[in-house]
Symmetry: D2
Subunit: 369 residues, 4 copies
């Protein structure tokens, strides 16, 4: 159970890493949104393996196929089903995993939970499952675009401040933190860093770990611009709650913070509270330690999120573990994997956030009669 | 919308801070669980205001009344509705809040969202709303107890390792971190600290802030013992996802981490992975950086969570803000509030976790035929 | 589980017939709807026992109390909790039901299902449970009213065709079918008949059964006027599906049909299809055998529904049955009950329909961007 | 929205009649259930077009492809996605439907609802959509089988009374009602009748209508055997409610009744109530007018349901209608359609019932701790 996310924009994903296909069904996408396969493909390509030397050499072109819900370039208001078929399935690489639990992976917990598992590349617990999230997020982004157009139309063609735009980047890798945030730089480098100066240091850190058959983690930061104030449903559908659920469901994520986050625990209230102010009739805040969220509802300021990504669990260094029968043994994880998952997690995080926002934009439509 | 939490153990809460009553309805509690009003009252008393000098002097005895779902001391399998009526409602204290937005509070966002709000003490955005969560959590704890009994009965009376038990405590207040963790000490001190030596320092920190009309934040740590392996539903109902959603929905929470959390981002994979091992036929792990969760599913190790609690937003120090009409002004928040909310947030966090676990224990029942 | 109804206008009900209180929580009511306790009370009074000589003599004034979600006469967008406390609880009347299963009632099935039951007056399986549905329906009706006002405001004050209005009446009682449909007559007679000539015959039929310690059933017809075309969500949220679920959840309902219903099975397609036609630019149909629904979506014609209500199960005539221990015995059901439940089921059906429509009106808001 | 059905066994369907593919995703199927593509194909073949001379000549082999959730012949506990690709798509047949609304179809309501529609063969409002329901129902049937095995295993190999078995058949076609019910005959005749003597008369009726370019309707009866007592969730998840919702969501269904249904409205309570009795320690009922449901919960008796199926809307006889622009016109519906949809609706009804039962069997697992 629980392979769906969202309440009004509802995404159900399916698929195993080495099964026939991965995909999703979106129920709740409004009718009349422009949508082409290229819109999806562009996002998938940012996540695709094989883009940097540190990413898995698995050859998947991850070509999307829309099965339903779109007619003559527009959404129908009916479920949008999309799939990516698995091509480069070398299950033999994973044969040994049938009997041994990889440390850091969900092999053991999955076995206990279901009493059965598709051990080929982790089955559904594989990071490859996130392909489906990216597809759904691409559609969510189209909704956010359409919203802006609708709003402008309602205001008689008057330009609004801009569509909701989500940026995600590698804020830290292997302990090397970016300092500058250049949003334009993100898609220009394979690490998805936002600081051109720190990027080579991050790369060096990954290389060093990779050489030793080891891996590194990092922090992904997400900045959401142009969010209208008022998104987020009290008390269990707060934007903070939904974003936390969305992002903590991504494999390897071990923590999340909003705005000043853990740092705010050391502040006084007088420091931490963001004063409101009015400038030329526009309401704003003099700073943004809240990260754009008060009471879990958007304030209209940038929403700022940071997530902790643990180092890739698959490493070729020998590790102690046990067999399915409970015998102590050692494992060197072969197969194809990333020495640092942060760069490829960036588009996944961005698209999960897009799903949350599309859901809330649609939800907010019915709070006022 | 979105005032419900849980899928199989479903809790819907209602109520405004200065309305007639706060309460909840639980749909999905199994039949034949022993339940008395005292079970609920005990938990409410731990959250009740007026227990320490730093807590709000508002006089609420928070007396629970079960309206349905229980007959002759046992649950019926029908919805359990419970309420606490509001007694000490001094709305006059809040009259000035009708026109002014308090910094750090949800006043502004709520106004934008709904175009109307109950300004008395924050209405539903008040921390008082968490009374309902504690009531529901108390019932969840009874389910966790009953589960153990059931399991033992099935095993022919053989003792199992113990019922799922949740501990929460103030791990850090105003920058003062506890070092020792003495779980027995928690309910013996008003700050809900687990370190008797550090507690006076924490108290000093709160006092100092309070004297200045200011406030402090802190970190709540939650340790869950005796969790069976296999709880958590992939991929969007991971235990980590549900716990993050549950805890980030509590007012003032700005971050969460599991196990090594943000620290794991600086580790190598070989350091971070927890090796599995087998001792006398029992499968375990040699350490627990994963915080008891792999792939979002429980490993059988302790689940370890830390949440960031920002300093109380209500402070009597003057702050810059604006009126509803957008005029710049200043505010000194009167009324009754806590200089540090951490101690009273402890039982709330514990009970939200109980709700998540009861939900997952019931959910797991149908994963195997 | 499953004590909630609706997706966007979500109603959760609770309460046992002889428990402390019955009530509901509505999650999803938009903000800024006018709502007073009198709005609820008016509907409750139509359902209240003791209005005709055939209804149960149980004395319940069914006085509603709103606990949350309303402030200064307007909804807040937060959950609306409402209760009616039970007053005239004479559990002694039901003492014998502890050990014996009443034929036609849910005593046996409930016992098997939960292994425990509140035997006093049927507990939650009692018709008294419908009090909560009427409360929620009263709020739903306010939303339907507000929708009209909103629509007119958008159209610059231009009058629209009228608000969605639901009529329900006793179309047949004890085999006596009404012929004329006078909607104004419904609330003027205790049987809620729409045919003044047939009403005395219906009354005679009930009297005759009552004298013999027996009961009669009947048919409730529901006509919904001014429904905008386009309500209903394909494919599992069709208006027909949701109405069927809503109405078949009412105790004693054993069937439902839309428009020509079972009669249409004997027609040819050329007879049954309703031709579309255009008159002065207005699209309409030349007849309405479809009962206002095509593909489960409203056509803009009146929606016409008929539900089959079985004769009241509680009769004082002796009946064969068994004890909880499986011993054959006889029962004469004492207590206070209606010789015909149809008149009191009329407001329940009307309000369940109101809940469905409010839900769909809100749902439709997000099908177009 | 609302393309999902079920709470614990949750089915989401997608696809348009002339789109790329139709399919479904099942979330909530327990792990370790045997499942092969043949299990699905067998059910699809019973629904497949082209089996009788009255069915549409559209050539679709409706070959199922399982995309996920099954590994080495067993379910994994992960989502099961299945598709059937559309092959014989002759959209040119439907070109004229772009501008004209077919009477009896959802063309008009769909256009109003979404402002856009896939007019090719009705798009998603086509009966072809039910392919997905049959696939999901086939999996549901496997769960019902597995349940029996599990129960027997728990009872130490002792045989239980049999697995839940669902029979559906054409009880009436074009006004010709079957009298005998021979369950073995159903799959032996293309009309899916249960009365070998009446079948030729039914066939004659369809032929006669077909010759005139017209169509006929009928009644499908469903009998469910070996249902354990206690299935059904009060108060909105009653088995009657869920079955009504499931069956009324099937295109062309205009009514439903349980047991004596509409006939019970003319009975006295003393006639209608089914007396309980105990025979050799086994609890049973002396008759079954309730149709196996009391308070919406199964009694252990056969569940008996009848649904009203209107005559096929697509007829080649000329009919009055309007164009999209509101101009009065005439239409003769070409394309490929069934003169009577009842026979092909039989497997759809059976499989929708299977989905409801699997859902409730899994739901019941958590009502007792």
């Amino acid at each position: 159970m629980r392979n769906s996310f969202g309440k009004t924009f509802k995404v159900t994903t399916f698929g195993e890493s080495h099964g026939v296909a991965l995909g999703c069904v979106i129920d709740g996408c409004p009718a009349q949104i422009s949508l082409k396969e290229e819109d999806i493909q562009r996002e998938l390509d940012l996540r695709k393996p094989g883009q940097s030397k540190f990413a898995t050499p698995r050859k998947e072109n991850d070509k999307v196929r829309i099965l339903s819900g779109v007619f003559e370039g527009k959404t129908l208001g009916t479920p949008i089903a999309m799939i990516v078929e698995n091509k480069d399935v070398r299950s033999e690489d994973y044969g040994n995993l049938k009997e041994v639990f990889r440390p850091g992976h969900a092999d053991f917990t999955w076995e206990v939970k279901f009493g059965v598992r598709d051990f080929r590349g982790g089955g559904r617990s594989s990071g490859r499952e996130t392909v489906a999230r990216v597809m759904a997020g691409a559609v969510a982004q189209k909704i956010l675009e359409a919203e802006k157009a609708t709003k402008e139309k309602k205001k008689g063609g008057k330009k609004t401040s801009g569509k909701i735009k989500i940026y995600a980047f590698a804020a830290e890798i292997g302990g090397i933190a970016g300092e500058k945030v250049d949003l334009d730089y993100i898609e220009k480098n394979p690490l998805r860093a936002a600081d051109a100066k720190k990027e080579p240091l991050m790369e060096k850190e990954i290389s060093s770990a990779a050489r030793e058959g080891d891996s590194v983690g990092g922090i992904v930061e997400i900045i959401i611009k142009n969010v209208p104030a008022g998104l987020g449903e009290p008390v269990f559908g707060k934007l903070s709650s939904d974003l936390a659920a969305a992002l903590c469901s991504i494999p390897a994520v071990k923590g999340i913070e909003f705005g000043a986050g853990f740092l705010s625990t050391k502040m006084r209230g007088s420091q931490n509270n963001d004063p409101l102010t009015s400038k030329n009739g526009k309401i704003t805040f003099t700073k943004n330690d809240a990260g754009g969220l008060l009471g879990g509802i958007s304030t209209g300021q940038d929403i700022i999120i940071r997530i902790a990504v643990k180092p890739t669990s698959s490493i070729s260094k020998p590790q102690k573990t046990i067999t399915k029968q409970g015998k102590n043994t050692q494992i060197e994880v072969k197969g194809r994997h990333d020495a640092c998952i942060v760069p490829r997690l960036v588009p996944v995080a961005k698209n999960m956030v897009a799903i949350v926002l599309a859901d809330h934009v649609l939800m907010q439509k019915r709070n006022l009669s």
